[in-house]
Symmetry: C3
């Protein structure tokens, strides 16, 4: 079983951090739920719901990318997604801004993870049918490309 | 790690398609969010929420069925579920129909996947305790049974 | 593939039970949706939504704990979580109680599963870098500690 853990431990760590962040969001909702400020409660509840709606999708795509290609860039993209999500949540709760951010966030990162999955599957099919294995090249390119996510 | 990919690549492909569909739903919500048509926004938002509520359940049951028994019928049932979900979403957004479809959809497919899981677990326990392995028969029957999902 | 099933079959069983429970919740919502009692529908819909919001988090943390450390205590904690969730849902629907339970539930169990993940990852890293393996001790302690979850 330790071989399995070897291939997923970075993904597990990112998942744990995301769970802690979920708990933070939920505590905020719980706190506002008890206060009497309806507009603040509605805002925080809506932000939490939007984050939760996207959460399953994020987990699915991160784990697929990590299993099919390589875990380090997937976990790195996951961390960046969590940072973006934190910013989104805080931005949603902001008192002064009347205009809330939209429904979607982290599109670029999810797109990157999706690309990783597709490349991984494609590489696997190539290897199976034509015995040509580009996995090492692809992993190097992916690791380099993941740094591009840091661009604002 | 390539052995792992061999056993899950069909499931990953279905997951990717479902993620693309989620993105399509989310873009619809984002678009209606900006327009001023409140009733249309409410309808599309409700349809999206119902789909998202069931999404984790669907993913969990599809992956369990694929891992415990065999991936091809599970992925096939997953594809059909996505088609049903697309129909449900489009039906929910329909302008003319006042009566929206209910909260649930794709019950038959989820039930089929659930049965696959139970059969897979049962087969594993039988094999472990009595050394009797019916996996091949079960896989053949499952593949044949999955064609029944195509019936309207 | 049977080795894989051996390490996850308890987790799969708990996942199946949770899916059945989700179906039970969804059927309740569907039923109230058709009746004309708006306040009851709102209550059951809200309870269902709160349960669904936490569902992805629960699945993620249970599977991580089961994969990283050992499946039996993780599955046991999962079962207890499902019992707590059932109580929460029924309590939310209660006619007489005006005060609904809060947004969160099962905090202690999720915290226990989170601890299991962290210990598992930590143990793996220790083993990898220092060749010291405490996994057996940790598993025994975890199994014993999971019994503490039964305390009210």
């Amino acid at each position: 079983m330790d071989q399995v853990v070897e291939n997923i431990y970075l993904l597990v760590i990112v998942t744990l951090i995301s769970v802690l962040q979920n708990a933070f969001f939920a505590l905020k909702v719980e706190k506002e739920c008890k206060s009497s400020n309806t507009s603040a409660f509605e805002r925080v509840s809506c932000a939490n719901r939007n984050c939760m709606d996207a959460y399953s999708t994020f987990l699915a795509v991160m784990w697929c990318a990590g299993l099919c290609l390589s875990q380090a860039p997937a976990a790195f993209a996951g961390i960046i997604y969590l940072v973006v999500r934190q910013k989104y949540f805080v931005g949603y709760m902001g008192q002064t801004s009347q205009s809330t951010p939209g429904y979607l966030f982290g599109k670029r990162i999810l797109f990157f993870l999706l690309m990783m999955c597709i490349v991984g599957i494609f590489n696997y099919l190539l290897m199976r049918h034509y015995r040509s294995d580009y996995k090492e090249y692809v992993e190097t390119i992916t690791s380099a490309a993941s740094a591009l996510l840091l661009l604002p």
